[in-house]
Structures are given as C-alpha cells and as structure tokens.
C-alpha cells in the first residue's frame, strides 16, 4: 500500500485505551522542573506560541498591536525570544505580514470557512488561496466534522489533499476540533487521515468549542505522529490550541512531547501552542524567576 495520498487502512489503526491514556497523561504532570531548566522551558514555550486573534471584532489596529507584541514580548527583560507566529483571519494576513516584516515571526492564517468548516470546497480553496496570495506562511484549515462523523472519510481526505495543493509552499495545519469528535478513537482516525493526506501539522481545536486542547487528546495525536513517522519517515508537527493558559500546563505539554516523540520535536518547527493568554502567564513566570517577586498582569501588555 502506498503511503502517499491514499486513505490509510483503518484495520491497522490501534484502538485507543482511554483509561490507559489518562493514566499515562497523569504521570507527565508529576515531573519536577525547576530553576534553570524551568527558565529554559519557559523561553521555549514563548518561542512556540502562535499568538492568536480570531474574533469577529478584529480590526487592522488590533492585529498590528498583536504583531508588535509578537516581536516585542516584554522588552524590559532582555534575551527573550519572539513567538513563532501570529494566527489571524485571511483578511488580516496582509496587515500582519506588513507589520511583521523583518522580525522573522511567521504569519499563519485560518481558512476553509473557519471555525465551522461548513462551506463548499470551491469556497474553501478560494479562501486558502486568498490567504496564501496575501503572504501567509502557514494555513490552519478545519476538517468537515459533519462528514467525518457520518463516516465519509474519503471526503475529509480528499478535502485535505485539495487544500494542501492550494497551499503551495505554505505549511498546512489541519484542525480536527477534537471537542466535536467525541471519542479518542475518532481523534486517532482523524490524525491518520490528515497525515496521510499530507498535513504538515495536526492541531486539536479552533478555540471556539469547549473542551479545546486536553492532554489525553494531545497524547493520542502525538502517538499517531510517532507511528506515522516510524512508518514513513516523515515528521509531522503538533499544535494543541485553546485552553492552555498557564505556564505549568504548557510545561506539562513539553514533557509529553519530549517523552512521546523525543527532543527532535522540541522546536517551533514541529510543535506549537495556539494561545492568546498563555504568553503573558509565561512572561509573568519569567519575571518572577528573574526578580524573585510574584507579578501582576497590570504590568504586562494585554495584546
């Protein structure tokens, strides 16, 4: 069976043991990471964040302000990295691209009728092309959850292939909206479909539905990435998004990546956090480590 662009054979997909996953996940939260290793972890987290604004009320001004924050997280503390990317709607890509010129921060755009994905394929492809033509480096697409839950896997697969083709050289992240997939087995199945269809990243959620990213879901997806890597030799990235707002939780995710996929995935090329409020919490922790004093959000920029 060819591994390129054909639906995977689900008979080979392992069944997910939910209790086992939860127990494994609980153990990731017991690692003691303190002082210098914590500092390094915190900086790594900052550098893995996709700073996100995906609201109906977004304006160019808001996006510009967020882009400035992306490149200047907290200038009072020297030696901080920038975030990995900003994540915006297609209409804001041009604004973000201009605002980030010369900073090295990537622009990611959601597309394919985000967040519901309820639209025709033509519209989704046009949406994607519009974002890419405006300069998006990365595309975050949503799968058609309705079709997936109906069992119409071919449709989902073909759609990802089509969007991947429309992306050109932009990297494609595929959002499953795991909060709507209801079981971990479905999450595993969706991961396999997306990776075999050519996804560069798989991503948990849009951030519009609760529950968003959880550790069990992320672990299932990481294990899917690992199995796919062993089978094909191709690395696929992972992006949990939504609901990760504290440094402590983010460090648990890093532990999970390291212990599931290994150090090769611990860079923003292969792992991202989709978050808007996480950055400030990490910055507060870093400021606490450097000044020794607990911090207040009053002293950190909101966007």
């Amino acid at each position: 069976m060819s591994t390129k662009n054909s639906l995977p054979d689900f008979r080979n997909t392992p069944i997910i043991d939910q209790v086992g996953v939860e127990e494994r996940v609980a153990r990731f939260t017991t690692r003691s990471i303190k002082k210098s290793s914590k500092m390094q972890g915190l900086k790594m987290i900052l550098n893995m964040i996709d700073l996100t604004t995906l609201e109906g009320k977004d304006t160019e001004g808001k996006v510009k302000q967020m882009c400035f924050k992306a490149a200047h997280l907290h200038d009072i503390i020297p030696g901080l990295p920038t975030v990995a990317a900003v994540c915006v709607y297609p209409t804001m890509v041009k604004t973000a691209k201009d605002a980030l010129k010369g900073t090295g921060v990537k622009v990611a755009s959601v597309s394919t009728a985000f967040p519901s994905g309820q639209s025709t394929r033509e519209v989704k492809i046009a949406d994607t092309k519009f974002a890419v033509e405006n300069g998006a480096d990365e595309i975050d697409m949503v799968i058609s959850r309705g079709e997936f839950l109906k069992g119409n896997y071919e449709y989902v697969f073909d759609e990802i292939v089509a969007i991947k083709a429309a992306c050109g050289s932009a990297r494609l992240k595929v959002i499953f909206e795991t909060g709507e997939l209801s079981t971990l087995d479905n999450v595993r199945k969706a991961s396999d479909i997306a990776m075999y269809a050519g996804a560069d990243f798989i991503k948990t959620s849009t951030g519009k539905i609760s529950p968003a990213a959880t550790m069990p879901v992320t672990l299932v997806m990481l294990e899917a990435i690992r199995d796919y890597y062993y089978k094909t030799g191709r690395m696929v990235g992972m992006k949990p998004a939504g609901g990760i707002s504290t440094s402590k939780a983010a460090i648990h995710y890093l532990v999970m990546v390291k212990e599931t996929l290994g150090g090769a995935w611990l860079s923003n090329e292969w792992f991202r956090f989709g978050a808007s409020s996480l950055a400030n919490d990490v910055l507060m922790q870093i400021a606490k480590e450097t000044s020794g004093v607990y911090q207040s959000l009053d002293y950190f920029s909101k966007d």
Binding site: V293, Y294, Q295, Y299
Partner: protein, 295 residues
C-alpha cells in the same frame, strides 16, 4: 458499650471558596495552657499566598461591581450566620484561654461589628464623595472606588474579633482580601471561614491563611498584584521590611499597631475609606447659568 472516640476537627485554610490544606504539607501543633495539643494548624507557604492572590484578583471584579446594598445584605448575612454558631465560637475562644464572659463578649461584639459595617456598605460613598467647585464649565465630582486586592496581617492577640475587625471594612468597601490569621490563636479563623462560606459571600473575596507572619510578611508586601497591605501587629522589623517592599509597586500601607480592638475606635467609616481610591471626574457642561440667546 465501648467508649466513643471524639471526632476532631481538621483545621484547614480558606482559598477561593475552598478549604484546601497548605500546598506545603507543613503544620504546627497548637497547644493549650496545660501543654496538650488541641489541633494541628496549617503552616501556609508563599505559594498558598500566591494562590490566594489569584483567587482574590479573580473575585475582585464581581465583588466590587456589586451594588453597595447587596454587599450590605451579604455582610448582614455573615452576622446572622455568626450569631447562629455563637456557641461554637465561644467554646473555641475558651479553649484558647478566654474566660466565659470574655468569650461571650467577644463573639457578641464581633456580630455587632459586622452589622455595623453592613450598614455602611451603601452609605460611605455618599459621605466621602463630593461635588467640587471648579472655575471652568465642568461638572466636577469625586467618588471613592475600592483599591483592589488587600493583604491583611491580622492582630495576634485576638482570634475572632481581630479577624472581623480587619476583614469587614475591607470587603464592605468592595475590595477582596487575603488575611493571615493570628498564629497563636488560629482556631476561630478556620471556623469563621466556614461562616463566610455559607453566607452568600462569593468565593475568593475573603481568603484566610494560617501560619507565621515572620515567614510570610515579606511575600505579602512584595507581591506585585497586591494593591494594599494592612498590618495589625507591633513587630518593628516586619514593619520596616513591609514598607520597603511596598515601594516595588507603590502599595498602600496601613500600620494599625495602636488599634484597641474592643474600643469604639476600632470601627469607623474611615477604616473603610483607608482602602478606597478617590476618582475625580471632569464632565464638560454647557454653562447654562450664563447662557445668552444664540441668535
């Protein structure tokens, strides 16, 4: 028949409407005059304080936005609940060395003090507000607004009255607070938290820790998300450190080392006013009085 074993109460701390043990797992034994252990008390750590500040900050928005009248109702409710559990507090105070009469008086005075502040909740604004005469065409007025998150190091010598005296004016004014209870007389603090928890007071508005001021005062005073600190003890060294640390984020510092808890001076609208900020608004108006026909 076998003799019944008495069920001892576990004294825990109060953070965000929950009763956790200290995250540090530490405790100190509380002894009575004879030297027998009465209870093990949580020795709170700086991380408990940090968690309490997060809870207090979270609760501040909702609490400060409540109408004064509603805060008044809730303070009165606390008084009602305290009255209902009078016997328990009296027996705890006696355990901690008070005579029957002194214990009875202390509980009664605590209830009365809560009622006193319940009355002030929707009145201090009018007392401390003003309409200011200005020389331009503006309507200029000043109103008090709550300071924010207030850290309190409660008096050492009193178990219940001290606590009520320091908490009531702060929450009457719409602030949220973290209180370090008396180290040597902590029993009522934990029981009082149970009263608060059953009085419609939103979780996080009052957080009560037990432990040592020597260990915690520097964290109370250096935390950037604490807006004011009230200190009710007499330790000169601690006062000095607190004042120095407070300069980090220009906290409001109030040292009440001479307050006599049982006196009338220990209850006053000015104690509410201490944790208020004055906001002055310049509102442009047409100068109606001197208006002439415009045509």
């Amino acid at each position: 028949m076998a003799t019944r074993l008495e069920i001892q109460k576990t004294y825990k701390i109060y953070i965000g409407g929950q009763f956790p043990r200290t995250e540090s797992g530490r405790f100190y034994p509380l002894k009575n005059k004879k030297g027998d252990i009465m209870a093990n008390i949580c020795q709170s750590s700086r991380k408990d304080f940090r968690n309490a500040v997060v809870a207090a900050r979270g609760a501040f928005g909702g609490w400060s936005a409540r109408a004064g009248f509603n805060r008044s109702q809730i303070l009165y409710r606390i008084a009602e609940m305290l009255e209902g559990r009078k016997e328990q507090f009296i027996s705890e105070l006696i355990l901690q060395g008070l005579t029957d009469k002194a214990a009875n008086d202390e509980v009664s005075l605590s209830v009365d003090r809560l009622v006193y502040y319940a009355g002030w909740c929707d009145k201090y604004q009018a007392v401390f507000s003003s309409v200011n005469p200005v020389a331009s065409s503006h309507f200029n007025f000043s109103v008090p607004e709550p300071t924010g998150v207030v850290a309190i190091i409660a008096p050492e010598e009193s178990s219940l009255l001290g606590l009520v005296t320091v908490i009531a004016p702060v929450i009457a004014g719409g602030n949220s607070c973290i209180v370090l209870a008396s180290e040597s007389k902590p029993l009522c603090a934990v029981t009082f938290a149970e009263v608060l928890n059953s009085s419609d007071l939103p979780g996080g508005v009052v957080n009560i820790l037990t432990g040592s001021s020597e260990e915690l005062h520097s964290h109370f005073s250096s935390h950037m998300d604490v807006n004011a600190l009230s200190y009710y003890r007499k330790n000169k060294n601690e006062i000095k450190t607190i004042k120095e640390n407070a300069s980090l984020n220009v906290k409001r510092i109030f040292i009440y080392d001479k307050l006599v808890l049982a006196s009338d001076k220990a209850q006053s609208p000015y104690l509410i006013f201490d944790n208020q900020e004055i906001k002055t608004t310049w509102h442009p108006i047409e100068n109606i009085g001197s208006a002439k026909a415009g045509y």
